[in-house]
Symmetry: D4
Subunit: 243 residues, 8 copies
Amino acid sequence: MLTLVASGQMSPAEAAAQIDAPDFADLGFARVDMRRQLRTGVTEVVYGEGKTAAQIASICEALREGGQGRVLVTRISREKAQDVLGTGLFPEACYWEPSRLLLTAPLPQPDGKGTVAVVCAGTSDLPVAEEAAVTAEALGNKVERVYDAGVAGIHRLFASADVLATARVVIAVAGMEGALPSVVAGMVPSPVLAVPTSVGYGASLGGLAALLAMLNSCASGISVVNIDNGFGAAFQASLINHL
Amino acid sequence: MLTLVASGQMSPAEAAAQIDAPDFADLGFARVDMRRQLRTGVTEVVYGEGKTAAQIASICEALREGGQGRVLVTRISREKAQDVLGTGLFPEACYWEPSRLLLTAPLPQPDGKGTVAVVCAGTSDLPVAEEAAVTAEALGNKVERVYDAGVAGIHRLFASADVLATARVVIAVAGMEGALPSVVAGMVPSPVLAVPTSVGYGASLGGLAALLAMLNSCASGISVVNIDNGFGAAFQASLINHL
Amino acid sequence: MLTLVASGQMSPAEAAAQIDAPDFADLGFARVDMRRQLRTGVTEVVYGEGKTAAQIASICEALREGGQGRVLVTRISREKAQDVLGTGLFPEACYWEPSRLLLTAPLPQPDGKGTVAVVCAGTSDLPVAEEAAVTAEALGNKVERVYDAGVAGIHRLFASADVLATARVVIAVAGMEGALPSVVAGMVPSPVLAVPTSVGYGASLGGLAALLAMLNSCASGISVVNIDNGFGAAFQASLINHL
Amino acid sequence: MLTLVASGQMSPAEAAAQIDAPDFADLGFARVDMRRQLRTGVTEVVYGEGKTAAQIASICEALREGGQGRVLVTRISREKAQDVLGTGLFPEACYWEPSRLLLTAPLPQPDGKGTVAVVCAGTSDLPVAEEAAVTAEALGNKVERVYDAGVAGIHRLFASADVLATARVVIAVAGMEGALPSVVAGMVPSPVLAVPTSVGYGASLGGLAALLAMLNSCASGISVVNIDNGFGAAFQASLINHL
Amino acid sequence: MLTLVASGQMSPAEAAAQIDAPDFADLGFARVDMRRQLRTGVTEVVYGEGKTAAQIASICEALREGGQGRVLVTRISREKAQDVLGTGLFPEACYWEPSRLLLTAPLPQPDGKGTVAVVCAGTSDLPVAEEAAVTAEALGNKVERVYDAGVAGIHRLFASADVLATARVVIAVAGMEGALPSVVAGMVPSPVLAVPTSVGYGASLGGLAALLAMLNSCASGISVVNIDNGFGAAFQASLINHL
Amino acid sequence: MLTLVASGQMSPAEAAAQIDAPDFADLGFARVDMRRQLRTGVTEVVYGEGKTAAQIASICEALREGGQGRVLVTRISREKAQDVLGTGLFPEACYWEPSRLLLTAPLPQPDGKGTVAVVCAGTSDLPVAEEAAVTAEALGNKVERVYDAGVAGIHRLFASADVLATARVVIAVAGMEGALPSVVAGMVPSPVLAVPTSVGYGASLGGLAALLAMLNSCASGISVVNIDNGFGAAFQASLINHL
Amino acid sequence: MLTLVASGQMSPAEAAAQIDAPDFADLGFARVDMRRQLRTGVTEVVYGEGKTAAQIASICEALREGGQGRVLVTRISREKAQDVLGTGLFPEACYWEPSRLLLTAPLPQPDGKGTVAVVCAGTSDLPVAEEAAVTAEALGNKVERVYDAGVAGIHRLFASADVLATARVVIAVAGMEGALPSVVAGMVPSPVLAVPTSVGYGASLGGLAALLAMLNSCASGISVVNIDNGFGAAFQASLINHL
Amino acid sequence: MLTLVASGQMSPAEAAAQIDAPDFADLGFARVDMRRQLRTGVTEVVYGEGKTAAQIASICEALREGGQGRVLVTRISREKAQDVLGTGLFPEACYWEPSRLLLTAPLPQPDGKGTVAVVCAGTSDLPVAEEAAVTAEALGNKVERVYDAGVAGIHRLFASADVLATARVVIAVAGMEGALPSVVAGMVPSPVLAVPTSVGYGASLGGLAALLAMLNSCASGISVVNIDNGFGAAFQASLINHL
């Protein structure tokens, strides 16, 4: 945290607020973790699904009072986001529709050590890829996007080989047969985080086919997150990029 | 059949035997289909698993009496094969151990129109790939083998691009994530028959992961057979190569 | 391609456009493969699901500029299709509602070597059967349809035995228990491409029961595509029929 | 029961023993149901798996004391059967190895109203088919066997159409894709009991593929029992045949 | 059929129509089986799901022309049924809403040999139980209903023991844990047809839990049909009751 | 029951009504169990899903006539609840929307021996946690709620260690990875009833992931109920708390 | 613990040793929890599977040094148990073969408040039932056994209705369709802990069918443990019986 | 590579050999990737399962000739390892039995930037944890082991909080309910790689329960590898630790 203060990423007041904060704020319906940044170095993120707009706003306020001014909310629908924005509590907040992300403050300057490349297999995988890309940006990373580069026309992937090879982490997003991460991992020296998507039908089983494929990759250097979990991959990519 | 006789593939006596044959020979434990060649143009094949050596020998004899001298037996263990060979009934028979195939007569001269390429992802997929390759040869096809060319080191696959591109049919064999057929289908103008294998562990679920991946391929021109069913792919490849 | 030009299937201008085309056109949201026809002999097909009408129209335009005037779009809803047609960009385009297919130019003259037979088990399987039939026609094949010929009244199937026996490829479409391809493959000398459908309820598990049955067929000469993937079967059938 | 006595199937002493029997005999490890025949009209059957030879012998003795002299034991291995026979307690008992059945008295004279036809798809399905056939005989039915009549060579099935059409009940046994019952049910006016078997590999999933297929049959008049449960089908067939 | 004529169930004209009928009537979208009654003794039934009202009406008309005046249509929604009734083609038709059944003529007089008992576990299972009961009535059976008699209050089941014990066939309908058929089969001397329903949530997996339980019943004399398939159980029950 | 009367929980009239009640009241669509309280000590509960408001009201009336004035109805939607309340038959009834519970009389005074703690992992699990909490209260238990105390910020759980340690039973509710019960069971000396919820997406498989995790807990003292079955856990917790 | 000392269950020396014990003893391969008894009131249990006899002996010794003289080891094979007994370290230890349990000291005097009834469905379920029964005894409970009382002959269960109704907790063990707990829970006023077993074949899926059935029980008052986990049910039963 | 040479990790000769190496060495049964180190910075690893000892030795030799003297072989049984060691080709090779790893040269000096912590839940998870730990060491990382620290006695985990918090990457290994990674990820600021193991029985489904739990973790910063894939986690951990 002291590093963040020194670098201007966090104001001394925010830091003081965090140190003085209680362990958690009990809102009745939620126990907001006020010390996650102190403990794990990363700010708390709010999972928007299954929470009302009012609950989301309250949690973000509690966090701001605890010293965390920039809160990322995931899987929040357009309607709920408009309600949160409409409260006027977060005048600088912005919302990304395809990726269903809301950030209560503007995107920060990147402070990660390298770039995070986000590569996806098809146009239909875009929402998940964007969830990964915007999350990574919200957590302070420079992001390179390589979209619609599936293995059925593999020259489209090779055309971006340089971008991939120079990234510090690669997030590979694919539905259907989920083959993309295996090919990418054979091309780059960096860790590859694989994100299966629910794109497909029939025997894709809602993304299970892609998930299983990625878990069974013959290439080394791959790990996998839940189906459609672009956020999860970006969060871990950010941890790695800030090491 | 007349074509086969004209080309010397089948003797007039064999042809006559087949035409005179009853619909099937009832051996009690089996009803041997004596007219498959007349009906579908391809000889009867014997599935060895779950049959005794004596049953297998009887069926092959019945088929020979019906005019089919060259019988392919699949999934027959070394022990059973030795028992069948030991009867002395099929002096020209030979057995391939890795692929567990037995043929009651020597391999025929290829009479297919082009080559059948068999490409596999890893060394562990070899038994299934060989089942495909030897079956294709037993059914009269010229076969090109491209082995251990998985997508994690994709230059190994590209090194054989010519062999693949000039084949009339490609059989792509892979376990684990089963990504090989998708990449191959994007490289060649011919139909690709995908064979998932049970190679892998954990979430490979005995080959289901590879099977699902292949069924969900984003590449066009692929169809799939059962896990480890090298025979099935080769049988259809042979039908296509003889069109 | 030269053959296509010689036969009048493709104009010299289209051919020149394709040869001069870049590897792919990067539309931001999509990397349109401009050389698939050169590489695999078949034109690029657009998967409509998960793409907006505007995205689909852009991709079709890019392909036309690259020399491919006839583009097939699959799984495109009536609404999106009307939007694409409403742009006026593709005055000759037509749309098939049950099969959700759109073609940006009229159906071509068949140039395949034989006929593709499409046989389905029940009336409820019609949309998938039609996806297969129209796709095959769009790719230049003569198609014979044999509908509602399930195995529970097997004389209905035998009544069309001649149509099936003389086809160069047979596409067999069935839901529920998926038994049709096994019976058909025992009747014909040609390759059988099996398409499971999601018709059924309860233990049909959205078509998985039919899919598993087809993968386990006791008949030789069958390969299988994804559930409801009439397009995929027709694409491979067309490859085979043009060999 | 009085009918059985009148017809000489059961001696007056046996009948008296049953009427006087307690509800069950408590052997500690087992509570032997002594009144099943009174209650349901059919004698008690012993499931041999997971019981020792000594336990099986004790249960059969207890049943004999309760008036049931002919006891069927299912799924009993050759070793255990020899131990039971070796006790000398059941001098007339006999054992069928493929079907793993033991009967403590000779097969009875058939007293069912018609015949039970047992039809199976392949030679590998024989053990299950025999479990059905011998069970039906042990329960007093005349049995007709039609073996190796799978749908891939459907003329072999049609050759036995008369046997099937005149049976009072048909038991159809099949592994792999499990298509046989659907075809049979379209040919006969009697109820069809379908028995899936674990014959197959890969995507047969130990018989689940055949089970699912049979449950989803498009033909009417079919019901299904557990995988490899030839006994269960025969038991119900016997109930029907004795109505 | 002659029996039907003799008993007045079928008019001589209907019988003549059936004998003269072609094997099937090809309506383009459907091949209506015109000889099922001759072949299997039971009239053709129309599966309503996935067919339009117009298609259903056409098929019923074709069957009537072929001599079958009473046609049962299953799984037909209220809307479609009203459209079929609205055509005026079948003035005597009636529709049962909970069971989604339509019959083009009034219910026939029962001609089965005994009664068919339909027992269900809970009030939520009623629609499936009614599908079974009305189908059985439509096929000429006397039906006894025992509803809401689940095993958690087993005295409610025992209160109807007589009805169950005297039925010629019992249809046992249950969702959730599907235990009812096991208990019933231990109480009655007749065959029990088990129908799992999709009633439940969570780990009931849409009825799979009940289906698996019924397939694994420790009681003898049970066979099983697909989830929610009240029709299928009643059809087979009718076959048995007419033996 | 006498205890209930002595303690004023049940009036002598109610007790007399129960003793005089028939075994069950047959409403046609339902057989209402009138003696459950006598037999098992707990009043009958009505499962609201799949029943109409009229059916629910009738059952509650029948139970009241049988002496059970306080009836709990589970899984009843807001609309149906309003219809039941609108009948005016149960003027003291109240409805809890998040937990979809209706009680035909006010909450009783707690008579359980200790407290039932309900702990849940996240805010999205609240509806299921509330179903458990309100059910426990309706059955006469004092309830302590500890909400949003998931294992990712485990200090939030430890902050309530005392509440958990002094409860007589703990109900632990969690979706996603379902880890909460394992951690809780290592902290407390009382039995832990685990409730998986359907909160999550992708590989959570509708709550199956949490269910499997809980069944495989490495901690002793845990048992599990169906997904989202807060009622079931509370019912058993109440039995334990009243021992 | 003081209660245990006061009642003579634990010597003052043992109690002192436990209070002085470190949090855990680190044996390198294991961190033995030395304060579980202090924390949860129950002694530590050792899971024998996947541990060597030497590891098991070391852990038991470490626990004895920490004041816990009676250690229960579960799922320990006959061979390993003999090795542990052969060390001579635990002269009073005894081993139960069917249930694979080892106890390093004699069974204690029961100190639970009531009896624990263990009821199982069939003879094949005995090993799991015995694991439950002996575990309960080892934890200080009086146990009543009711074996082979499955629902197919339900009078065998009713014959023991008194034993079940007077137990403080009932453990119901069943494989195959797992119906027993539902029937039992409708008969008794106490909590029912359901244990599915892997007894069965085919669609029993290694016990999953029974597990799913129990989770979906229509009876209230049931919770469920893992397949074959007799220990887990007994552990929780003991917690309840000692409340 | 130049860095490796500069630091003495690789000799100039080895580097030169690698640069001069062909793309791959074709051994017939294998195409050994000779440039992986150049391309991805990490040496090639050999998957031992499904390969003979002779094949393994040949591949290691080919790699050594290509400049890679230290080759890691995974999943190699004791017997095969002894055969490889017995060839005398790799005099410095050593073998780790629990983790089934073979290294053809001694362990290298650590050159990673921080430590890799390997934490496992139970003693039975040790083989997988050791596969991770030894692999990480073989790839040049300093490793800290924290074993038997499952969540059921969570103080054992907290006792090692410092080791975990200061690691650069944490590998968390757990079977059964797989809860460990969720708790760990809430305690540390570094990325957590989760490894599910096949430890467990019944509903653990061979490790699927743990795998699903980890994929659904409510904690951020976790990614997952295949069941029992300690190697895969260590490989990616090493990539991260060398960034």
